[in-house]
Each structure stands twice: as structure tokens, then as C-alpha cells.
Symmetry: C3
Subunit: 272 residues, 3 copies
């Protein structure tokens, strides 16, 4: 396990040296946080969702992050076009199926994107990834519901990763990353992260930053998820008692100062 | 009046236990703050504005909040579709006619929404609610203008509530809530609230949280408006002197820590 | 140079007294920051991007700010319609060609806007303004790339200002403002400003506030750019060591408390 921690810490150093350009087609609720999280971790964000430029912007980027948080029929077409261009140019793609299972539009969009775009890393909560896995799903908005604890995240992650030939990252109280065989559990984070909107979206964006720098989806998923978890811990220590507004700013503070040494000290990675 | 304060404090407890899912079709300027305010007060936010899912998302929600802050022709149709679904399923609807009176599009959209959707709580500044009441209106952007002090908020609130058969909530230096007969004035708040964008939108979202939990529009309007006013007072005490950026975060901090005891101590409710 | 500093300090006082309404057709990434920056400096923001109201909203505003950060085919038409109305009514127009040079859509939109709308102040980084000037351009996302240091900002600013008959404001480590003859360099700011998304967009919005109050594009460009630079310095002194999340809030804090005396003391303006 020390090897994985070392690799993840090194990945952060590589990311900060590389400054990858990350193209995000994402929702208008948390997009500012995604941009600031990307800048904080050492990447450069670009947001562009019109069909007339989506593929062009992807083609100059190091990674593409697709997030369907506030999808509409116009942007779904852009997501597919950008994803196809990324596949064509071997640019890694992170997919965050926000709210999959909650509406026909989200379900159809999720299916369409998965049918037409080869995904490098799929990141969501257990509800969303279970939907993708074709299991029953009870969605309460875009946050994971308590009932979701009933699912076996490890089994779901492995199955989805095998089915889609991608890395699956299921975030929750314990995060699970799998490539279909290997499974890593991450025990960083803080419950207050669920009281700030966009911590999931930011995690997907961070995975995009790592994968844009490294081109290794597994380490990228571990790095992105661990970065947000550790940032949440540090943020709670510094500002959590004040309230969720201060905690929100402190997450970005922590990401902006996160370094390899903190990753080494704090990362709680466990091969399952 | 003690009864109303008690009921409002109790409403906050109920809200925090209920964790209502609140569907927001809102503007892209303040949507992140609305989501974080909802999480802070104990609700769960979902934003979805495409016509292909708006009614579906409403149907799984406890309340719908419609806000025309950055409306466009695509989203107005979604607002109407979601509103009709809410009416059909007896899900309460909060309507925030941002900038009503400022353009033909906003005026037409306001009329269309009011003609097709039965509103539970209408919340706006005196300019906006006066427009709804069919009075002359002088709008300066989306913030209430000083000249609006000339209107009689109590008379406007009563008239609109009677005409539309809803609760009217007019926010300003003194907030006025009416169901057409009963009138409550709320004297919480701080002038700096008008120097942060979205405090009005957040108030409407908070009313949505209360009404989703309680299904009582009057207490919900009092609860939502008083919550923002009290949060503004606490935020100014903690961070207001530093500037409006710190004050902004402190509003969310205060909402996240607001409890029934604070509501009891601080609420300045007055039956007019 | 004292005269220019005096004029800029006085401009801030005028702005705070005037409270200009500034219409922004802008991107959904940084729009909340633009609105809060406008409120902080003493203006009143309104955001409206539908073709059915764009010109109406411009017609009641003191300035129009067009920003193509997340443009789409729907909003480009609104930008042109609003810009034409502004020209017709002699309302000043600020144009921020975010990412010009990065995609055909952005290039075409930039050309179309410049062909159809007379611009008062053009603000961008050296990549973007060089594109407008018809020079070679290497764009890395929407942030200025290091390679851009090769361009001669003074020459580019003068050429663009002469060609378009506008004020050109190129922001970077040293900011350059020109009307085609006169050139001012501004040496305020802090490197951390480039680690928060939207500081460029906010600068354009601030220029819109000044030009809405003053109707003098040159002083407005100096005032807007210097305000952001000074706010960045103060923000770094107060919060920069904590991280970019705290620094972000501190920028708005500083803008909200910026006064003529600070402008006099801190502005580093230099006629080139």
C-alpha cells in the first residue's frame, strides 16, 4: 500500500508541474467551484458547451470532464461530440452521471454518452453508479441517500469497471476505486463535505486534472478522490466549526496548498 | 405573537428532521448560493431546467421554486410544465418574479406562470410584487429601488395575496408577509444583505425548504424570510466589518448553524 | 501622472455616488463573482441574455458588458442585439473576448461582435487582444500563457485601439491601457489573482461600472483595472497565505471597502 501512496503523492507533483488544460462540460450550479478547484490543484480549466466548439476545445485539452448536473438537450449533444473527439485523439474522459436514475432525461443521456463515448474514469455516488450498473436505484436528488448504504460499493465498482472497461470511482463515507480487478478503499473525508454543494463535481474535476497530467486512470481516480477527502479534513480542522460557508472556502484553501508530503501523511488508502 | 415565533422555531426543527428535496428552476447567477443555502438550512437541493425532465424532477420533490432571474424562452416552458405537475400532485410552489416590470419578456413570463400555475408563496421586492399587483413600477435592475419605499408594502401584499389566493412575501427593510387577511411584519435583517447578490433568491429557496417540510405556506414564508434576516444579522456581527465577501460566506455559516433557540431569541415578528 | 491618479480616485467616488446599472451578458462560470464585484464597487448588476429581452435591458442600463466565456449560438445573437441597442442609445459597451483564438466559434463570435457593435473598452489578456489585432496567438485555455510574454503589449494595445477606435486594456503582470495614442501601464496586482477564476471577468465588469458612471472609457479602463489590482494586493495581505479560497473572498472584501484614499496611495500608474 505504501507504493500506491507514493505513486499518488508523486502524481500530485507531476500534476502541479504539468498544469494540464481540463475541458469541462458541466453544470451551472457548481461550475465556479470546479474551475477554482482545478486552479487550486494546479490545472487550468476551460468550460465550453456549445456544439460548435465543444470538440475543438477538447482537441486542445489534456482531459475532458463530462458532468450532467444540469444537462439539457443542447448540451448532451455537445458532450457526445466532445467525448468522441477525445476518444479519437486518445484524450482521457471523466464522466460524472449526476442524478442518473432520477429522470428519464438523465437516464437516456447517461446511456447515450456511455454508448458513444469510451470513458476513462466514471465517478459518482453509489446511487448513480448503481444505476449505471443496471441495479435498482433510489435517488433523492443529486446527493447519495442513506438507503444507498445497502448496496455493496465494492461489488458495484468492480462490476461497472469490468462492464465498461473503465475505472469506477464511487464516493461516499468510504470511497471505492476499481479497475475491475484491483480495488482501493479511501477513508479520507469529512461528513461536512456533503453539506456543501459541488464537492462531488469538484472531485470529478480533480480526477480530470490528474488524468490529464498522468494518463493513468487508476492513479488519477485515487489522486482526485484522496485530494478532495484530505482537503475536506483540513478544511474542517481550520474552519468547519464556523459553518459551511467558511468550510466551503477552506476546501479550496486546502486544495491550493495540498502537497506531496500531506498526501503521504494523510492518505488512508487500503487495497480491498 | 409568541405563538407565531414558537411555530416558526418549531418549523425549523421540522425542516431539519424532514430534509425536503427542493426542485429549483432558477438563474445561473445565484444558483450556487441557493443550493448551499438549502443544504445549510437542512434541505436537499436539485436543479433541473430542461423541459424533458422538469416535471419528472418536480414529481419526486417536496417543493418547487421558480425564479426568473435569468429566464429564457426555453426555461419558461420548463417552469410552466414543472408548475403544472406540482399543482397536479399538490406539491407547493414558490415563485420569485425577479425583475418583473423590467422587460416585456419578464412581464410576459410572470403573467404566463401566474395564469398557468397556482402559486403557494410569491416572494419578491416591492417593485416586483407591485408589478404583479398591476401597479406602476419603477425597476432598477433586480434590486429594489429606493423609490419603492413610496409603495405601501402592507397594502400591496394583502391585495396580491387576495387576488392570487396565495401567500405574498415582500422583502425589504421591513419584510411583509400576508395571506390576504393576516399580515406579519418582520424586522430582522441587515442593510449589507443588499450588497451581496442572491440574498433574495436564497430567501425564496429557504421558503421552498420550509414549505416542502411543512406544507403551510404562511409559516414557511415567515420561516424562510426570518431565517435569512437573522442569518444576515449574525453574519454582520461575525464578518460584516471585513467586507462583503466575508459577509457572504458568513451568511451561509449562520444558516448552517441556525437553530430553534436562535429563532426564538432573535425573530422580530409583528402582527400588523 | 498625479493628475491621472487624482482622476481615477475621483472616478471611484463618482461611481459610488452614481450606482450605475450594468447589464452583463456573460458566462455562467464567473457570473456570481461579477455580480458581487459590481455590488462591491458600488454598481448595480443585471444579467439577462435572452434575445427577447437583451436590448430592452440594455436600454435601461448605464453600461453593457459582453463576455464570451461560455458563449453559445443563442447568446451571441443576444450580445449583438444588446450591443446595437447600446450603440443606438450611446450607452458604453465593454467587450471581453474570453478565449478568442481558442476555437472557431469564439473567433467568429469575436469578429461578428466587432463588426456589428462599436466597442468603448476592449479588455482581455495578451493572447486574446493579440487575436483581435490579427496577430498569431497561442491560447492555453482562457488564461494567458507564459509564451504571451513575447508579445509587446504596448504595441498591441495601441494598434488595436487605433484599429477599432476604442480603449484597449490588456491585463497581465503589467497592465496596459491605450486609446491609440496615450498609453498607461499599471503595476498593481498580485500573481495569486491568476489562481482564482474570474478575476479577468470581474475586471471587465468593474470597467463597465466605471464607464457606466463616467462615460469616459480611458479613465474607466484605468479605474477598473487598477481597482482589481489594488484589491488583489490588499486581499493577499489579508488572506493570501491561507489559500486561494480565502483570497477569493478577500478580493470582494477589498473591493467593497476600496475608497479614493486607497486608490491615491496604492495606484501605480505610469504613462508609457
Amino acid at each position: 500500500m505504501n507504493q500506491l501512496t507514493n505513486d499518488t503523492a508523486k502524481a500530485l507533483e507531476t500534476l502541479r508541474k504539468t498544469v494540464p488544460l481540463v475541458h469541462n462540460i458541466t453544470n451551472y450550479v457548481t461550475v465556479n467551484d470546479c474551475a477554482n478547484a482545478l486552479l487550486a490543484i494546479g490545472a487550468s480549466p476551460i468550460m465550453a458547451d456549445d456544439i460548435a466548439e465543444a470538440a475543438d476545445i477538447t482537441s486542445i485539452s489534456s482531459a475532458l470532464v463530462i458532468n450532467i448536473g444540469t444537462l439539457n438537450q443542447r448540451t448532451v449533444a455537445s458532450m457526445v461530440a466532445a467525448g468522441k473527439k477525445a476518444n479519437e485523439m486518445r484524450i482521457p474522459v471523466v464522466f460524472d452521471p449526476v442524478g442518473a436514475g432520477a429522470s428519464k432525461l438523465r437516464n437516456d443521456a447517461t446511456r447515450e454518452i456511455l454508448n458513444q463515448v469510451k470513458i476513462t474514469v466514471l465517478r459518482g455516488n453509489i446511487s448513480e453508479i448503481s444505476f449505471v450498473a443496471g441495479l435498482d436505484v433510489s435517488t433523492k436528488g443529486v446527493d447519495a441517500s442513506v438507503a444507498d448504504g445497502n448496496h455493496d460499493a465494492v461489488a458495484v465498482a468492480k462490476a461497472v469497471a469490468q462492464n465498461l472497461g473503465c475505472i469506477a470511482a464511487i464516493t461516499g463515507a468510504v470511497d471505492v476505486i476499481s479497475d475491475g480487478n484491483r480495488v482501493v478503499e479511501i477513508r479520507n473525508g469529512h461528513p461536512m463535505l456533503s453539506k456543501v454543494t459541488g464537492t462531488g463535481c469538484m472531485t470529478s474535476a480533480l480526477v480530470g486534472a490528474y488524468v490529464g497530467a498522468l494518463k493513468d486512470g487508476f492513479i488519477a481516480a485515487v489522486g482526485g478522490v484522496a485530494s478532495m477527502g484530505i482537503a475536506g479534513e483540513i478544511a474542517f480542522e481550520k474552519a468547519g466549526n464556523i459553518g459551511t460557508g467558511s468550510f466551503h472556502a477552506a476546501i479550496i484553501d486546502a486544495l491550493s496548498q495540498l502537497d506531496a508530503a500531506q498526501m503521504q501523511e494523510r492518505a488512508k488508502l487500503n487495497e480491498a
